[in-house]
Symmetry: D2
Subunit: 238 residues, 4 copies
C-alpha cells in the first residue's frame, strides 16, 4: 500500500500505569502499530494518562473551569480513519481511564457530521486488552459496543489480547526467572488476533473511504422518517 493520502490510525492506551514504559498493553499496541505502519498507515499514539482528561459528560471541560486536553485528542480521533483503544484488565473490567475516554467521546454524541450522521461515522475501530488473569472478551465487548454505538464500523475479529493462565502471574511483557523471552510475546493466538484486527481495520477503513462512508438519510435524526422506516411498518403482520 502506497497511497498519496495514507490511512490514519490513532491508538489510545488507557492504561492506569503512570509511566508508559511500564505498560504491558502498550507493548501489544506497539505490535499492532507495527503491522499498520508496515502496510503504510500513519499511526499516532496517545497515552491517556499523560494528558489531563476531565471527568464528565462534557464536550470541553474548560467551559466549566476544568483542565482538559480532551478536545485536542478528539480532534486527532476525528482526523483518523481507524481508532484502537487499549485497556488493561483489573478485576475483570476495562480500566477507569478507558471508561473516561468513552464517556468523553459519548459526550459529543449530540454533534453530527456534515451529512447529519453521528460524529464518528465513516470510521472503524478495534481494541487491545491485556491482563494477567481473565477478561479479554468482557472488556472487548464493552469497548466495541460503545464504539459501534457512537458511529464506528466494527470489522470481524476486531479485538486482540493476552492473559495468562487462571490466577495472578506474569504480565504480557514480563520475563520468567530463568530467562527466555517475555511470556506473552510468543503467544501465536495473540499475535494472530492482533494481525487479524490490524488487517481488518485497514481494509474496512479503505472500503469506507472508497464508498465515502455509509450513505445518509436512513441513519440521521432529520432523515429517517423520510425513507422506508420502522414507524411505518406494520408490527402485527408477518
Amino acid at each position: 500500500m502506497a497511497e498519496s493520502d495514507p490511512l490514519r490510525a490513532i491508538l489510545i492506551n488507557c492504561s492506569i500505569t503512570p509511566r508508559k514504559a511500564d505498560s504491558h498493553t502498550q507493548r501489544l499496541l506497539n505490535r499492532v502499530a507495527g503491522v499498520l505502519e508496515a502496510e503504510g498507515v500513519d499511526v499516532t499514539h496517545v497515552y491517556a494518562l499523560e494528558h489531563a482528561i476531565a471527568t464528565g459528560m462534557l464536550e470541553d471541560g474548560a467551559v466549566v473551569g476544568l483542565e482538559d486536553e480532551w478536545p485536542g485528542i478528539e480532534e486527532r480521533v476525528l482526523a483518523s480513519d481507524i481508532l484502537v483503544l487499549g485497556t488493561p484488565i483489573w478485576l475483570g473490567q476495562k480500566s477507569s481511564v478507558a471508561t473516561r475516554v468513552i464517556e468523553r467521546m459519548y459526550a459529543s454524541s449530540g454533534r453530527r457530521n456534515d451529512r447529519g450522521q453521528w460524529l464518528y461515522y465513516g470510521r472503524t475501530a478495534g481494541c487491545v486488552v491485556t491482563g494477567n488473569e481473565d477478561g479479554v472478551k468482557h472488556c472487548a465487548m464493552d469497548l466495541l459496543y460503545a464504539l459501534q454505538h457512537i458511529g464506528y464500523m466494527i470489522p470481524p475479529q476486531a479485538d486482540c489480547g493476552w492473559i495468562g493462565e487462571a490466577g495472578p502471574g506474569p504480565s504480557y511483557g514480563d520475563r520468567l526467572p530463568g530467562g527466555g523471552p517475555p511470556v506473552g510475546y510468543d503467544n501465536d493466538f495473540t499475535n494472530r488476533n492482533a494481525t487479524y484486527m490490524a488487517w481488518n481495520l485497514m481494509h474496512t477503513a479503505r472500503m469506507l473511504r472508497a464508498a465515502g462512508g455509509l450513505p445518509a438519510v436512513g441513519n440521521t435524526t432529520e432523515g429517517w422518517e423520510h425513507v422506508s422506516n420502522a414507524k411505518d411498518q406494520n408490527p402485527e403482520y408477518r
Copy 2:
C-alpha cells in the same frame, strides 16, 4: 433499490415464548423486516423455538443422535448477507435460546470459507432486543460481540430495542387499559434506532458485496504470518 440479485436477510427470533404470535420481540422484528423489504431486501424469518435446535458444541447434532434442525437453518444463515438476532430480556440477560443459537454458530468456527477466512466473513449483523424493564444495551453487547467474533461486520448503531420504565409493566405490544395503541409502537427512539439499524445493515451488506468481502491473507489461519504481522513487530519500541 432494484437489483437483479437482491440482498438477503435472515431474522432469527430467539424468544422463549412458545407461540410466535405472542412474542413482543417478533413485532419489532416485523418492523425491521418491513424496512428491509420496502428497500428491496429478501427477508426470511426463523422463530427458533419452532425448530428442534440441539444443545452443544456441535456442527450437526444428528451425528451424536440428537434431533437437530440447526444445519438447515445455518444453511440459510450462510445464504444471507444480513443476520438479525432478536432476543427478549429476562433478568437483564439475552435469552437461553439466543445463547444456544450463538453456541451453534460458534461450533462451526473451525470451518473456513473458500479464502480461508472464518465462515461468516463477508456478512453483516445486528440485533433487536425487547423487554419491559431494563437491559437492551447489555443484551446487544453480548450478541454483537459474538457476531463480530465469528466473522460478521457490525455497522454503527446495529441494535435497537424497547423497554418500559424501571420495573415490571407492559411489554412492547401490550395495550394499556383504557385503550390507545400498544405502548411501544409510538416510541420514536425505538423506531428511529430500528430504522438506523436496518439502513446501516443494508448499506454495509451492499458495500461488502461490491468489494467481494474483506480481502484475505492477513485474516486467515494459513496466511497471517505471510504478510506484515504482529509477531514480527517489535513490542518494545515506539
Copy 3:
C-alpha cells in the same frame, strides 16, 4: 461439623456436553463437593442436560404441554441451603443451559416464602466456571447477579474457575501429550478459590440457619411501606 440436621447443598452442572463423564466443569464441581462433604454437608448433584428442562418463563412446562422435569429439580433446590451453579464458557459467556436454569428459577419469582419474601431467601449461592480460554469473571458476574436478585445471599469470593492461557488449548481435566496430571488440577489459584467458596458458602448457610434467615417486613411486597421506607425519605436534602 456433625449436626443432627446437616446442611444441604445442590450442585447443578449446566454443561452443554451431552455426557457428564466428559464435562470438565463437573470435575471442578466434584472438588467443591468433596470439600463440602468432608465438612459434613449433604451434597446432591444434578447434571442439567440429563433432564428435560422446558424453555420458557414457566413454573411448570407441563401446563402448556411441554415435557418438563424442572419442578422436581426446583423442589430439591428449595430443600437445599446452598446452591452452586456450574457452567462452561463458550465465546466468553455462560452456557445456554445455565441461562435456561436461571430463566426457570426466575419464573418462580412471583411466589413468596411464608414470610412474604422472594422464594429463595434464606439460602446462599456460588458458582463454578471452566473454559480453556477466557471469561471466568464475566460468567460469574452474570450468575451471581441473577442469584442474588432472586433471593440468595452471596458470600465473599463465591466463585471459582479455571481457564488456560489466552487462546484455545487443553481444558481443566485434559492431559498434555507427554504425560503428567491434567492441566488444571494442580492450579493452586483454582483450588484455593474453590476452597474459599465452599467454606464461605457453608458458613454463610450456617449463619442464615442460626438466624432463621433474614427478618421480614422491609423486604416484602406487602410490608416495605410499613417500616422506614425509601418513599418516605426526602430525596432532596442531605
Copy 4:
C-alpha cells in the same frame, strides 16, 4: 434499633456530575440514607468527585507523587459495616469514577485483616444506579461482583435504581414541563427496591456483627490447605 454501638454505613456517590447538587444518583442515595438513619444506622456520605482520587493500582498515590485523598476515604470504608456505591449510567455502563473507586479498593487486595482474610471481609455492600435510558442491572452486576470479590457479603436484592422508558428523556429528579413531582420519585418499584436493599444491608450487617464475621481458616491464604480443601478432593469420581 437502638444500639450502644450503632451500625455504620458509607455511601459513595460515583457520579461524573461536577456538582453534588446536580446529581440524580445522589437523590436516590439520599432516600437510601433516610431509611438507614430512620433505623438507627450512622450514615456517612462521600461525593467522590469532591476528592482527588488518584488513578492507578495504588494503595496510596502519594508514594508515587500523586495527590490522593483515597487513603482517608478507605479508612472510613473500613470503619463501616455497610458500603453503598452509587453510579450513573452512561452508554449502558457504570461511571469512570465508579471504576476508579473499585480499582483503588482492589489495589488493597494484598492486605489482610487480623484473621488473614481479605481486607473487606465482615462487611456488606449494595449499589444504587440511575440513568434516563437503560442499564441498571448491567451496572449493578459489575459493581456487586467486584464488591463480593474483595470480601463483601452481598445480601439478596442488593441493588436499586431508576431509568426512564427506552431512549433519552428526563432523569430521576427532573420535573416534566407542566408540573408534577420529579419523574422518578413516585416509582414504587424503585422505592421498594431501595427499601429492600437498605433493609437487607442492615440485617446482614447485624448478622455479621453478631457472628463476628465469617470464621477464618478455609478462606485465608495461609489456612486453606490446612482444612478440607479442593486440592485434596478427587475430581474424577462422583
